[in-house]
């Protein structure tokens, strides 16, 4: 029995005081070693072709330069591909995208390194790049084989349907724009070992890939991460190349090397969210209920597979969102283009799947002239019937119907919708729109083996507790939640818990902090470790006090039978009795399995649900628009920390809003990215969120599965709540052809089509 007093509280972020006073250290803030060198990367300035000739002499002779390296200087594997090969550190000859690294320098200062890089002379043999998805499909240019899935006979069902609709859709890419850019600092150690400070979501894989690149054992590389200034998926694999290069430079110079990537270079070199092209045909009934769906999903993976397999799989897993689709015929293309290798981004393909089906449902409503909230409800999964997904998983925890009904009431949706219709009838230039959309998002890595985590817990003799686990603090409040979990388990106060950096020396073989599951997995591992220590204490108590039975940890005390003892005292006593007060813990997510071949199984332990109502106004002369009001009801299970959860919901929504409205990535016809700086790539600012921004946690929420505190993962799911804003804009244009991102230009195009 736990006291549970540290849960569901509004505890502030563990580092918040340091954040606001500038004391929280990020990698670039760490005191620099004396002889530190600074790295910079030289990259290709064509999208496809070969290097005819490269002249590095001026780079080598440039002021302050100590070392220049190319692929020839890689002792081990020239590849940073996480799952599949295909991501060279430095290209040997074949250029596959504009911005692909060719060489790197180490120089005395950052400025000198960057100035040196500019002095390279390269002659290229340019070839015609493949730059868009449709072109790639036509040329059968894929990074991975297409995936097909079928459930029932969709073609037949569509044919038999009273109504059918077909069309094409697009969703755009998205740059992560973590505020802390990519950065890595390597410090040489004894025996050719290296210590790496990396801004990464995945220290273990950084360790492995660096080791392979320099042809050393994993145990010669240590990776340490205290916190990162945002990741959002952009540092799940895309950070590896920077740690590899800082380490290669360090190895060759035998000096510490910091590689801090300029914002523009970061946006040029690293992968982004996959943009998608969709083609659909849907058959449905009079009430909007879908009978069958034939669908093509095709994504821009860029030049290499990276994580595109799992990302596109997740798009498939979420093509139903919260809807029961009785028959489906789906093909998913993973297109190879001569652009950056697209990668993980909050939602990991899920948003792209949901965006598609939400558009289809919206189009059905428009066609039938029914309020889309009704068509949505008509299609929802049900509790006991209509509860098997297209990948064969039974949905056991469905609460979307209840959330949706609550939110419709709470937001006064029906009345507001009527008012908007009136407003639009009266106004020629300004038009409003409103929409409510659901989210059902599967929690777990869909690659089953990744669902494991470790922890290491020590109690020192003064009763203070130190712990480590495999997760990364990237703003999501993971350390805060884990501290709460540990404090709660031992019944001590938060002040007694210390979590230091995530460190490959402390906890090995971890998975990336991704898939929203870090609290579930690492929290589980911490509890496992704590239980082991508690076992030891139990043995001690039973010997010393001849007591067998329940032991309660509460209010800095330990209660057993009628006795109680100070936690600190107990720990100190136990030490003298030679009781081990340290343990490692492990967690693996139960119940999940997946048969990749047949695309069947239970890839997720559970689902997180939510819904949002967004209301917008647009100017039909210019396409300028504004979000007027947002109402959100989101399920986080039984919250561990409601303020952190609300922060995730708000932040997720706004990030999704950026994806679907103003954030637009563009390339020129030669494949050069044009939007490589915040002056041309516009993420939301303060003024883009509405004054009326009402976010509520679903009070009845409780995870059916046995997850810490019966809480639910909250990192990714809220991002998809922003689909409601897109649908509201679409609603305001009273046109179904609105293309994402819905920026002023695309809105105006939709109106004038």
């Amino acid at each position: 029995m736990q006291s549970n007093n540290l849960f569901s509280i509004k505890k502030e972020h563990e580092s918040s005081k340091k954040h606001v006073s500038g004391k929280a250290k990020y990698i670039d803030d760490i005191l620099e070693p004396k002889n530190l060198l600074h790295g910079a990367i030289g990259y290709s300035t064509i999208a496809k072709g070969k290097i005819k000739k490269i002249d590095l002499s001026e780079v080598i002779n440039s002021k302050g330069v100590e070392k220049v390296i190319t692929y020839r200087d890689i002792p081990g594997v020239n590849d940073v591909g996480p799952v599949f090969k295909g991501d060279p550190i430095f290209i040997e000859n074949n250029i596959e995208y504009y911005g692909q690294p060719i060489f790197a320098v180490a120089a005395k200062t950052n400025e000198l390194a960057r100035k040196a890089v500019k002095k390279v002379k390269i002659q290229y043999l340019e070839k015609k790049p493949i730059l868009d998805i449709k072109q790639a499909i036509k040329k059968k240019s894929f990074v991975l084989k297409p995936v097909k899935i079928c459930k029932g006979n969709a073609i037949n069902e569509i044919k038999k349907s009273k109504h059918t609709l077909e069309g094409e859709l697009y969703s755009g890419g998205q740059d992560h724009f973590y505020l802390e850019g990519q950065i890595s600092m390597t410090i040489p150690q004894e025996d050719n070992n290296f210590l790496i400070y990396a801004s990464t979501q995945h220290p273990s894989e950084t360790q492995q890939i660096v080791a392979k690149s320099i042809n050393q054992k994993f145990n010669s590389i240590k990776v340490k991460v205290r916190r990162i200034g945002g990741g959002f998926g952009g540092k799940e694999t895309q950070s590896f190349i920077f740690s590899v290069i800082s380490t290669l430079l360090s190895k060759h110079t035998n000096k510490p090397v910091k590689l801090k990537i300029d914002r523009d270079d970061d946006m040029i070199i690293t992968g982004k969210r996959h943009d998608f092209y969709y083609k659909y045909k849907v058959g449905f009934r009079e009430d909007g209920c879908i009978n069958g769906l034939k669908i093509t999903l095709a994504s821009r993976c860029g030049f290499s597979p990276d994580l595109s397999g799992a990302i596109n799989d997740r798009a498939i897993f979420h093509i139903d969102n919260a809807y029961y689709i009785p028959t489906i015929d789906l093909i998913s293309y993973r297109c190879k283009t001569n652009t950056v290798s697209n990668t993980a981004f909050r939602g990991f393909g899920g948003p792209q799947g949901m965006y598609c089906i939400e558009n289809i449902v919206e189009n059905i409503s428009e066609f039938l002239k029914i309020d889309s909230s009704i068509v949505r409800k008509n299609n929802f999964y049900q509790k006991n019937t209509k509860n098997i997904t297209h990948y064969g998983m039974k949905i056991e925890d469905n609460i979307i119907n209840d959330i949706f009904d609550h939110l419709i009431k709470q937001s006064n949706y029906k009345k507001r919708r009527k008012d908007i219709i009136n407003f639009n009838n009266k106004n020629r230039i300004l038009k409003k729109g409103i929409s409510i959309t659901p989210v059902k998002f599967g929690i777990s890595f869909t690659t089953t083996h990744l669902n494991q985590g470790g922890a290491l817990v020590h109690i020192y003799t003064d009763g203070s507790i130190h712990l480590n686990h495999g997760g990364i603090e990237m703003g999501q409040g993971l350390m805060t939640k884990i501290s709460q979990i540990a404090a709660n388990e031992f019944g001590v106060s938060l002040k007694d818990i210390k979590i230091s950096s995530t460190h490959t020396e402390k906890v090995p073989n971890t998975s990336a902090s991704a898939a929203s599951a870090s609290t579930d997995i690492n929290g589980g591992a911490v509890i496992d470790a704590i239980n082991k220590i508690k076992k030891n204490i139990e043995i001690y108590i039973s010997k010393k006090f001849k007591y067998k039975g329940k032991i309660i940890y509460k209010n800095n005390k330990v209660y057993f039978g009628k006795q109680k003892i100070d936690f600190k005292k107990l720990i100190s006593n136990a030490y003298f009795e030679r009781i081990s007060l340290s343990a490692s813990g492990f967690y693996k997510t139960p119940k999940i399995f997946f048969d990749n071949k047949n695309f069947k199984g239970r890839p997720f332990l559970y689902f997180a649900y939510g819904a949002a109502v967004s209301e917008v106004i647009i100017d039909t002369l210019t396409g300028e628009n504004k979000l007027i009001r947002v109402d959100i009801l989101h399920d986080v299970g039984n919250s561990i920390n409601s303020s952190i959860d609300i922060g995730q919901i708000e932040g997720g929504y706004v990030q999704g809003l950026g994806w679907l409205t103003n954030e637009e990535i563009s390339w020129n016809s030669k494949g050069q990215i044009l939007t490589h700086s915040p002056s041309t790539y516009k993420i939301p600012v303060s003024n883009d969120i509405p004054e009326k921004f009402y976010v509520k946690i679903y009070k009845k929420g409780k995870n059916k599965e046995n997850v810490v505190n019966r809480s639910k993962a909250v990192g990714e799911p809220p991002l998809m709540l922003a689909i409601s804003a897109f649908m509201a804009l679409k609603n305001a244009t009273s046109n179904k052809q609105l293309k994402a991102p819905a920026n002023p230009e695309n809105i105006l195009m939709a109106i004038n089509r």
Partner: protein, 473 residues
């Protein structure tokens, strides 16, 4: 007497310096030379606000606080000012804005946080009402990718409840005394063949430019500093105009608003509010608070970008420029823009003053269209100046930005409209003519098609607004 070092106050320490490179930014100086790493770099281009710090300047015996982007500010432009960084905000106790950020959960990854704290601190020192609109105005230059801003805005709303006096109010007199000690001379820093000149007054400036070559002017630096931070170029010789009192003024004289070229945009807004509210309203969307606090109207003209926001507005208003070399000359602004980023400025000549006529019987409207409402560069911009008599258009200027390689008039449309009645029919007609005036480019900000379409549609907006219809979102 010419001095060879600058003096400024870093937090509360008086600093004399001349031994760093003349191209070094305030941000790099803080982070690398002073190891004050609380101020962050998120972009080095003035767009994200992670590097925000506060500059306090002596104005009428009082300190005036303003937020700036340290990443695009040259260190030597700090002469005579106090620079306040996030490290200095709290001692044993957090500053009200910091405590409010903590209590309202305004940080997640925390990387943007020092920048937000400083922008909020700037707002706090300005004592403005924490309305939604004011908060957006003060925070538009700060990007956060984690929080979604709601918690940050809450923190801003509640900051005053943690106390309206801070340690800076107490220390103000001490800082004022320190600042007064700083001597104002001509300053010339020479370091590794690079020069940074700060003229004491106009006279010295004129003398200096007669005797020197190959220098560049820097006023706010929000354009020119990017040469260094983004293109990794070195600018060998800089002349800093930002401090120059002889170039920093606003005077009303004989139906003209005379503005010293180094006057920052934010200082111009109040006077424009009075005479040309639409101009002022647009200026609130010019960059961000940090940009507007230093970016000058002269620099905007000097960069001569076809998407510079004040340019078409000044064109439409028939502004005049005083150009200064050894001698002065007066030039109508329509003769100023020669070709893409080329102006009528001669060697050794700079803009001294901008004169905006006060036209009480004209209607002036300008519209900035950008992808994002706040802190974004225009996709297109239009300014209208119209005089009506009995609803007949007797005078009209229509100037566009973003439609051509220079800011330019819609000559054919103007010609058509003159003498016509202002009615829907004629507006419709004029829209067809605009198409003949311009053939805009497609670029990242907008397509040619969009620019054309909107340039026409804005004629509708103009018409509706003149007739007092509310047509803005």
């Amino acid at each position: 007497m010419i001095k060879n070092e600058i003096e400024f106050i870093l937090n509360d320490e008086l600093i004399n310096i001349n031994n760093v490179d003349t191209n070094v930014s305030v941000l790099n100086y803080l982070r690398i030379n002073k190891r004050l790493t609380g101020t962050k770099e998120g972009c080095a281009s003035g767009d994200c606000g992670a590097c925000t710090a506060i500059i306090a300047e002596l104005k009428n015996n009082k300190l005036e606080y303003k937020a700036v982007n340290t990443c695009i500010m040259f260190l030597y432009s700090l002469h005579g000012k106090q620079l306040i960084t996030v490290e200095h905000l709290s001692n044993t106790k957090l500053h009200p804005v910091q405590q409010s950020m903590v209590d309202n959960h305004g940080s997640q990854c925390g990387f943007c946080t020092p920048g937000f704290v400083m922008s909020m601190f700037g707002m706090y020192k300005d004592k403005v009402k924490p309305s939604n609109q004011n908060i957006d105005e003060y925070l538009a230059g700060n990007l956060c990718r984690c929080t979604g801003y709601n918690s940050i805005k809450k923190a801003a709303k509640k900051m005053y409840s943690y106390g309206r006096k801070d340690k800076f109010s107490k220390n103000e007199n001490k800082i004022i005394k320190l600042l007064k000690k700083i001597k104002h001379n001509d300053i010339l820093i020479s370091k590794n063949n690079n020069k940074f000149y700060i003229p004491l007054n106009l006279k010295n400036l004129i003398k200096y430019i007669q005797n020197n070559k190959h220098y560049k002017f820097v006023t706010g630096g929000t354009d020119i500093a990017l040469e260094v931070t983004k293109k990794n170029n070195t600018i060998n010789s800089l002349i800093y105009l930002g401090n120059n009192k002889d170039l920093n003024y606003i005077k009303i004289k004989r139906n003209y608003i005379n503005i010293g070229s180094a006057t920052p945009i934010n200082k111009i807004i109040p006077i424009l509010k009075k005479y040309y509210p639409s101009f002022a309203e647009m200026f609130y969307r010019y960059g961000s608070t940090q940009i507007r606090n230093v970016a000058s109207i002269g620099g905007n003209l000097g960069s001569a970008s076809p998407i510079g926001d004040s340019l078409p507005a000044l064109l439409a208003l028939n502004a005049k420029l005083i150009l200064q070399s050894k001698n002065q000359r007066l030039l109508g602004i329509k003769y100023f823009f020669k070709a893409y980023r080329k102006t009528a400025l001669k060697n050794n000549e700079f803009i001294k003053e901008i004169r905006i006529p006060i036209l009480k019987n004209h209607i002036f409207k300008c519209y900035k269209i950008s992808k994002r409402i706040d802190d974004d560069i225009s996709s297109l911009f239009v300014a209208y100046l119209i005089k009506l008599r009995n609803n007949i258009i007797i005078d009209v200027n229509i100037a566009y930005g973003g439609m051509d390689s220079i800011p330019n008039f819609a000559f054919k449309t103007q010609k058509y409209l003159i003498g016509k009645e202002l009615n829907l029919k004629n507006i419709e007609k004029s829209k067809q003519i605009i198409e003949k005036d311009f053939n805009p480019l497609t670029d990242v900000r907008a397509s040619s098609y969009y620019r054309k379409l909107v340039s026409k549609n804005l004629m509708d907006r103009l018409f509706l607004e003149i007739n007092n219809n509310k047509v803005r979102i």
